[in-house]
């Protein structure tokens, strides 16, 4: 069957339509769907060529959306589909096997968000006051399932400048009839004594067990540690990435800024980074679809995933 080959433009277009059609879907899932489409339509002659093309596609998608999840999700997808024995002499057979595994992978990760929500909502007790940062769809799902479980709680959301994503989160929570208050980023220290627990999402989970998330997460973590409040992170497993930053500087530049900024601006020193790194010593627990993990267990899971 002859499918038309996907050029870069069409790739990115496909990706963006995916994201637009279903705003709830994580960007990594959209990226993987795109990769799967590309795989179906790819016309390379060898498996090596196929892999190279896929790697290139992942690079192109990263340029379109510079979040860590796209990069990690893409790499995991590649590993997952090539993990089988591709011993068939016929290339189309191999491709069929790979496509099948790709579909399987996609199905698994589409369910990951609900798995995480199921694990986490039991940690929210009745009457709890929760603090969260910026807008995260996973955290929203968690709070949704907790509310569905007839729990009463109030939420404080940080405004999260420069894009005021916190306000969107507040609107969504109000639609769910959850009492919510928006606080300034600077008011985190002020509000910390009132809250019982802190839940944040993550854009990427690194090898040490630390997380990469919207800027402002690090100071939230430091504050909660100082007040001895539990700091929980909710993330799906495809966000696990093979980085090991030792401090803020070690996070690669391509993740720090939005994709458009990276392309447009010459001197990145002038730009303000959009993400920061939170070390594992400040995190109490991570809720993932692989289970509830301590930061040191993340590395074990990563070794299992990647080795």
């Amino acid at each position: 069957m002859e499918w038309p080959k996907m050029t870069t433009l069409r790739l990115v277009e496909y990706f963006r339509t995916q994201v637009r059609q279903d705003p709830e879907v994580p960007s990594a899932v959209a990226a993987i769907r795109t990769l799967l489409e590309f795989l179906k339509r790819d016309q390379s002659e060898t498996i090596l060529g196929l892999r190279e093309n896929l790697t290139q596609t992942i690079r192109r998608l990263e340029e379109a959306d510079s979040s860590v999840a796209v990069s990690s999700g893409g790499e995991l997808f590649l590993r997952f589909i090539s993990l089988t024995s591709l011993e068939h002499p016929d290339l189309s057979q191999c491709k069929k096997v790979m496509v099948e595994r790709g579909e399987l992978f996609l199905k698994k990760i589409s369910l990951s968000r609900s798995k995480v929500a199921k694990l986490c909502h039991t940690f929210i007790k009745d009457g709890a006051k929760i603090l969260t940062h910026s807008s995260s769809r996973v955290v929203l799902k968690v709070l949704e399932s907790a509310a569905a479980d007839k729990k009463r709680f109030t939420v404080y959301v940080t405004e999260s400048q420069p894009d005021s994503a916190g306000r969107q989160m507040a609107d969504k929570l109000q639609n769910l009839n959850i009492p919510v208050t928006v606080v300034l980023d600077a008011a985190v220290g002020y509000i910390m004594e009132k809250v019982d627990l802190v839940i944040v999402g993550a854009e990427g989970v690194v090898e040490s067990g630390g997380i990469i998330n919207k800027i402002g997460t690090y100071q939230l973590a430091v504050c909660s540690k100082a007040h001895n409040k539990p700091f929980y992170v909710v993330a799906e497993s495809f966000k696990f990435v093979r980085l090991y930053p030792l401090n803020q500087q070690d996070v690669p530049e391509r993740f720090k800024y939005k994709a458009d900024t990276l392309k447009a601006v010459e001197d990145l020193a002038e730009e303000h980074p959009m993400i920061d790194y939170t070390p594992p010593s400040l995190i109490t627990l991570l809720f993932t679809d692989l289970g509830v993990l301590t930061p040191s267990a993340v590395s074990d899971e990563l070794i299992k995933l990647y080795l």
Partner: protein, 499 residues
């Protein structure tokens, strides 16, 4: 009064055993003891609660038991004394004591009947007998031994029974025993302390037929500190073993795989006496032993030898890392921190300067002075323990602690063959005490501590290793990649699957 009787019964029993028992009697007694042991095992499994009820008849037994209990793990005759108080106490009229006396007169059938009767009485005695806490504490100890690991001998130097056992073992292998030197600080009295001026080789007879000359040379190099550093020691060990394998010939009627392993045992004891084995050396030896025992019996000698030699063939680490980085034209400056008495930093400094890297040299006391200008700390490791602790040269945990307070990342560089299954949380339990005379320093012709042995309240402590908790270490760099300190058990698991 009661317990005095039992003690007398004990002492009366022993000399009888030597004189009047014949071979058959001894065999029978042995079988009896085995049987009793098995019964106790079964009884223990059933649960001690039901036996708590009948305490009275043997409640007076506990006093003599603790004396025997302590001996249980160490001396072999001790388990023999375990069954003795039981029959001696409750039905002491039917104890085995009379049997040796009238043994020669009995026929086989009568002996059998007697044996059965004794077993019955013992079983009856067992019901109230095993309820005594004394027996219970004794039996679990000997039964637990297969479950609870014995402490290694080198951390039990203050236990005379262990030392005696070690001496016996070395005598069997014809290796001289090295004696401890000088006053030992009480907190570390459970470790060996040797003097460098009395090497083990002086006590060896020449020519030594038991120990291969390359092993003798290696042992001397270890004890004098000529070969130091865990990588260097392991590599030297493997080279020496290669030589041993080359010179080895299988004696007739023996299998290479079994005989070679037996030959290696005295060598390892000898090297252990010269300088306690490191974790990496332990792993290397385990690997070699495994390879040797895996050689199929049909393998011809030459073939087997070449196979072994090929499989052997694969702090220096931190130095290599820095030199390689320098070659990649990264711009950096190195500060080498050194400490007495070994001053190993000087060698590292020399090698770095030869490559052209700009270096600074400080002693460990100046650590807090230079740390504010340091961006990363690189440390080598002697071994990485299963709970994430890093065992390394003494002073390492100090550096990690101070670096943590200054928020400087600490990176430990360690190859995976140095990972070991041991768990340790402090530097006391298992360590190495070096020659205390090394701490003496001569300045301007005067040695202040020259007569330290004469001062009764003075002890010199020269520790070799210390243990760093994983909270102070940010990253471990291994040949498998970068891992956090707590992931050591995962790597061990993965490696075991590979092998």
């Amino acid at each position: 009064m009661y317990h005095r009787y039992v003690v007398v019964a004990l002492s009366r029993r022993k000399p009888n055993e030597g004189k009047e028992l014949t071979k058959e009697e001894k065999q029978r007694l042995r079988k009896q003891k085995k049987h009793q042991k098995k019964q106790k095992e079964r009884k223990n499994e059933k649960g001690p609660s039901e036996t708590e009820k009948d305490k009275t008849p043997v409640s007076l037994l506990p006093p003599p038991q603790p004396v025997a209990t302590q001996k249980a793990p160490s001396a072999l005759p001790a388990p023999a004394s375990a069954p003795i108080p039981v029959p001696a106490s409750a039905p002491f009229h039917s104890s085995p004591a009379p049997s040796p006396a009238d043994k020669p007169a009995k026929s086989k059938a009568e002996l059998k009947a007697e044996r059965r009767a004794r077993q019955e009485t013992d079983r009856a005695a067992k019901q109230p007998g095993s309820s005594s806490s004394g027996i219970k504490t004794k039996v679990p100890l000997s039964e637990l031994n297969p479950v609870v690991k014995r402490l290694p001998e080198h951390v039990q130097v203050d236990d005379p029974a262990v030392v005696k056992r070690l001496a016996k073992k070395l005598e069997r292998q014809q290796i001289p025993l090295r004696s401890d030197y000088g006053y030992k600080v009480s907190l570390f009295s459970h470790l060996h302390q040797y003097s460098r001026k009395a090497p083990l080789t002086q006590l060896l007879s020449i020519p030594s037929t038991v120990i291969h000359p390359s092993i003798v040379r290696l042992g001397l190099q270890y004890s004098q500190g000529i070969v130091a550093g865990s990588n260097a020691r392991s590599v030297a060990l493997l080279h020496a073993f290669k030589q041993v394998i080359r010179d080895y010939t299988t004696p007739p009627n023996e299998e290479l795989s079994r005989d070679l392993v037996n030959k290696l045992k005295p060598y390892i004891s000898f090297l252990n006496q010269c300088r306690p084995l490191s974790a990496s050396m332990g792993n290397a030896i385990k690997y070699i032993k495994k390879e040797i025992s895996n050689i199929p019996s049909q393998c011809k000698e030459e073939e087997a030898k070449t196979k072994l030699l090929t499989c052997i063939d694969r702090s220096s680490l931190v130095n290599n890392i820095l030199c390689e980085a320098f070659e990649k034209s990264r711009k950096f400056r190195v500060i080498v921190v050194d400490s007495r008495p070994r001053l190993e930093g000087r060698e590292a400094l020399r090698r770095l300067v030869q490559r052209g890297i700009s270096c600074t040299y400080v002693l460990i006391s100046a650590l807090s002075y230079i740390l504010p200008e340091v961006s990363k700390v690189f440390l080598g490791a002697h071994a990485l323990l299963a709970n994430g602790y890093v065992m390394s040269r003494v002073g390492t945990s100090q550096i990690a602690l101070v670096a943590r307070t200054y928020n400087v990342p600490v990176l430990v560089c360690c190859e995976t063959y140095k990972f070991c299954e041991r768990v340790q949380t402090d530097s006391f339990v298992s360590n190495e005490l070096d020659d205390p005379d090394d701490l003496m320093v001569t300045r301007k012709g005067k040695t202040q501590l020259e007569n330290w042995q004469d001062v009764s309240s003075l002890g010199l402590l020269n520790l070799v290793y210390d243990v760093t908790p994983p909270d102070f270490v940010d990253l471990v760099i291994t040949d498998l990649g970068m891992i956090p300190c707590t992931s050591v058990p995962v790597v061990l698991r993965v490696k075991n699957l590979d092998q």
